[in-house]
């Protein structure tokens, strides 16, 4: 059985779905991704376009952009990360509650892009763990949506979603029934 599968047994009376806790948790998480727009450069303009009606990120259940890291679980790093800004990005990431994911949007956030210089961090994955990289300079909104759907797929297939390792230690979520 694939991790994200659900089972419906018509022989069991009533509206009963048999599944695993992991699959339910992952399903819930993947369909309520609350992104935090870490807009640092022109990629943020495309990020805003993705939230608008033409591309409409809410079709995929992640339109609830939250500018507070405490209320978000996916940081979209959209733009050039300078060394001066790197500490801010890391601080904001540290303030987000687990579980959390990071999307590096565009060439600059992924690798430093065309800014190969003394001032620019050569990829945000040097300071935070990145789940999805999106190419483009800047990526079109469709590319961002595709990346976010990839992230949803990654969330859906996460094993042991009640137990995640975070900086070397294991964090366990307890379900009280």
């Amino acid at each position: 059985m694939v991790k994200s599968d659900f089972g419906y047994n018509s022989k069991v009376e009533g509206e009963v779905i048999v599944t695993r806790a992991d699959a339910v948790v992952n399903w819930v998480r993947s369909h309520s991704v609350w992104p935090m727009p870490m807009g640092l450069a022109c990629c943020a303009i495309e990020l805003m376009a993705s939230g608008g009606s033409r591309f409409d990120i809410s079709r995929f259940g992640m339109e609830v952009m939250r500018f507070s890291p405490r209320q978000a679980d996916c940081m979209i790093v959209a733009g050039t990360v300078t060394y001066k800004m790197a500490e801010v990005v890391r601080r904001i990431y540290d303030q987000m509650a687990e579980p959390k994911w990071v999307v590096a949007m565009g060439a600059c956030a992924s690798t430093g892009g065309m800014y190969r210089s003394y001032a620019t961090l050569q990829g945000v994955d040097n300071i935070v763990p990145v789940d999805v990289y999106i190419s483009g300079c800047p990526p079109r909104p469709e590319a961002l949506l595709d990346g976010m759907m990839l992230l949803q797929e990654k969330i859906r297939n996460e094993g042991g979603s009640l137990r995640r390792t975070f900086r070397g230690r294991t964090v366990e979520t307890k379900i009280v029934s």
Partner: protein, 195 residues
Amino acid sequence: MDAATLLSRFPATQDLAGKDMPTFRVAGADLLAAVRFLRDEQGFDLLADLCGAEWPDRPTRFGVVLHLLSTAGKEYVRLHVDAVDDRVPSVAALHPGANWHEREAFDMFGIVFEGHPDPRRILMWDGYPFHPLRKDFPLAGIEVPLPAADVAAVTGQTVEPAPMMGGPFVSPGGKLSEGEPSALDQSWTEQHPKA
């Protein structure tokens, strides 16, 4: 633009015969009085630009270039000032718009603006040890610790040099065409480490 009055009132001033606009080299001691004269008596009421510059082969290595605009007369004037001992008087008291320009020139070249109301860096972080637009500063940068010590401790990241050679826009094994962008300064790259 009354060049004769400017030259007679400030004898150390030199007419550089600018091709696009009147250009003068003003002594640092005369700068404030000259800018005040141009602003109050000649109508140059807008500071269009102020930037640092480096001339490695001149006795005074650094200088400052000011562009002043007369919004009524619709003409520009350019002033060069040599930074003797890397020091230039600040014109921020006459043109408040010079404030951030002078902070940038200080940040990038290390030119000290005497009398500046807020002489801090503006682009790089406080405590950065270099002035990156100086010609002896390598394009790739110099390794220094991250400004935030706690972030550096968690991530192990430093401000690391990023040489153009081997970078995303340089093809391995030489240029594919003349149009391929590359850094002119290849004296310090992955293939030629700094001595």
